[in-house]
Amino acid sequence: MGASQDGDALLRLRDVVKHFPVGQRRVGATADVVHAVDGVSLEVRRGETLGLVGETGCGKSTLARCATRLLALTSGRVVFDGHDITALSRRQLRPFRREFQMVFQDPYGSLNPHRRVGSIIGDPLTVHGLADGSAGRRRRVQEAMELVGLNPEHYNRYPAEFSGGQRQRIGVARALVLRPKLLVCDEPVSALDVSIRAQIINLLADLQRELDLTYLFISHDLSVVRQVCDRVAVMYLGKLAEVAPVADLYRRPRHPYVAALLSAVPVPDPDLSDRRQRIILAGEVPTPVHPPAGCRFHPRCPKARRRCVDQAPELVPRGGDEARHVTACHFPVEPGDDLALPHPPIDQPGQDAGDDLAPVAGGGR
């Protein structure tokens, strides 16, 4: 979807860290902290669609909100179109908000039920003072509605009068009315029926061509991401596990976690499905309050060794991969690896206090 040459980076994230305090702030007590995002560096290039994938709780939504400065960063930098927007105040950020917008997940929660649709879509115009009179604003809103495939005559209706897919279109219209450069889509189709998803995805594709847009596309659904993205970044527990062009990732995942995820994606051909190796990970995702030491995935990883506990792997190209395919793993997946086989547990006397997992068991059935 869209051109993804090595254009310059429209959005650059450098070592972004975001921690949330847990529970009430009490005087004197050191609060526990949720490590939602723990040092993520990423680039979104002009014109491309970058997918950001991960399970619930891996930090992708938080990262998206840091990128659009809906949240303040704990540390790190956000650079948009060459401008450092990390520490800008709300007022200073305002002109930038015309350049990037967000499309939200919940078509029912993201539109104010007590406002008319035309008013909702026209919000950005009013906020940024770009509507020349109510007639002008109406015209631009109706243009946006047509752009996303809505009937502009429904300008005065309430969100409740639209279906889920239509409401998502309204959300897209609102995001596009100022003709931004970057759209951050936070699970835009997850809440829609499968048959509607295709429509919205097609819409997004068309819009990207027409309006020269760049997308940061967040999802937990790997099959959607495959169709939609040029490059994919996979997150686990607040850090990036692997980033690669989409074809490479799906053909040859290098990170064991990514391999396991991909093995679980449903495949229509039953024969193919039977022959496929299902990798079932042991244990559950640990709590982000006390993430495991070293590589965060090590307690569940079928290839884990001593080194994985002691040293967090860097996100670099591994053995033979091209420069754009980076993996954070000491022992990446090689062809011929059988990740479903049980493996001897690494001995781990240095296991962190507070790490409430059982000792690593073998992966597989």
């Binding site: 979807m1 659009t68 809906l70 709300r90 950020l93 305002r94 908000r97 015309r98 917008q101 967000m102 939200f104 997940q105 919940d106 929660g109 993201s110 539109l111 104010n112 039920p113 007590h114 406002r115 008319r116 919000d123 950005p124 906020v127 940024h128 996303v148 495939g149 809505l150 009937n151 429904h154 209706r157 309430y158 009068e161 897919g165 239509q166 279109r169 959300g171 609102r174 048959s195 998803r197 295709a198 429509q199 995805i201 097609n202 594709a205 169709q227 939609v228």
Partner: protein, 315 residues
């Protein structure tokens, strides 16, 4: 990269059916429900009647030739100095000073309506603004404002009202201010609670991402959601304010005599009820009618605006 979905028409899938189904917004629906509610119609009629009577008070006074404060000891009192009953000259009788009760009741309606509505308006505006601010900003602002509301709600209000009014001397303005001051916190608290939960909705986040500032989010996004409960609260506050005013007047602390107030008349009638049944009856009936009408209307408005809704919030 296009995905073909089965049976997909092009943008036509998004267009509404060509049948002219005129969608009715929630306000229109509520109004229709209200229109069909007999209790609402009846109570609205009573209120309109009383308002009309209040407006017409000077005209009526002129027509019968008696002012609200004019005393007629010779024709208005019996030889024993007691009030006379309803007659052709004094349609509703007289009070203990020989004043025309009909005219006084009509003028009393003005006071009750004025104080009731004005105090309610003030209290509602204050309550909404403070509640919105407390709920939206949270943190220190919320803490202070919420505590402030708690403190106001903890005041023994009648006691305080009496102290305040008696020390300053009775006056219309003070009455309105006192009633408003002791009513706003109840609204503020509810508005705050609603704001706190609305704030968590995704469309608030969407508004921020568009670049809206605090004021816009509070008044354009959150307030429309509050309008329905606030309207109900306000409508139900009016009769409370009216009763509050009547109580203050009853105790001699509302508007100063000789201005006619229903509460004042009832207080004066205490000594005479055994011999002049009309003296407490008519002001009492008027007070009851107005208060009951507003209560009924408030109930109907609540039913119309949200038949399922936040009953337990408001009670």
């Amino acid at each position: 990269m296009t995905i073909t979905a089965p049976g997909q028409a092009a943008a036509g899938a998004a267009a509404a059916p060509t049948v002219a189904i005129q969608g009715r917004g929630p306000w229109r629906l509520a109004w229709d429900r209200l229109r069909r509610d007999p209790a609402a119609i009846a109570s609205a009629a009573v209120i309109v009647l009383i308002v009309a009577a209040a407006v017409a008070a000077p005209a009526v006074a002129h027509a019968v030739g008696h002012g609200p404060n004019d005393q007629y000891p010779d024709v208005g009192l019996t030889t024993a100095g007691l009030p006379v009953g309803p007659s052709r000259r004094f349609l509703l009788g007289t009070d203990n000073l020989g004043r025309d009760l009909l005219v006084r009741v009509l003028y009393g309606a003005r006071i009750s309506l004025l104080v009731g509505v004005a105090a309610t308006l003030l209290a509602t505006v204050a309550g909404v603004v403070v509640g919105l601010a407390a709920g939206y900003f949270s943190g220190l602002v919320d803490l202070t404002l919420a505590r402030f509301m708690d403190v106001v709600l903890s005041f023994p209000y009648l006691l305080f009202a009496i102290a305040l009014v008696s020390v300053h001397g009775p006056s219309l303005a003070i009455t309105i201010l006192v009633i408003a001051f002791f009513s706003w916190a109840a609204i503020g608290r509810i508005v705050r609670g609603q704001t706190l939960s609305i704030r968590e909705q995704e469309y608030i986040e969407a508004s921020w991402s568009v670049g809206s500032g605090a004021a816009r989010v509070m008044f354009v996004e959150i307030l429309p959601n509050l309008l329905a409960p606030v309207i109900v609260l306000a409508t139900l506050l009016i009769p409370t304010a009216i009763v509050f005013e009547a109580t203050l007047s009853f105790l001699g602390l509302g508007v100063a005599p000789p201005t006619a107030t229903w509460g004042g008349m009832l207080s004066d009638s205490l000594a005479f009820y055994q011999v002049a049944w009309w003296f407490p009856l008519f002001p009492g009936l008027a007070l009851l009618a107005l208060t009951l009408a507003f209560n009924l209307l408030g109930d109907s408005v609540r039913d119309a605006l949200d038949p399922a809704g936040w009953r337990t919030v408001i009670g």
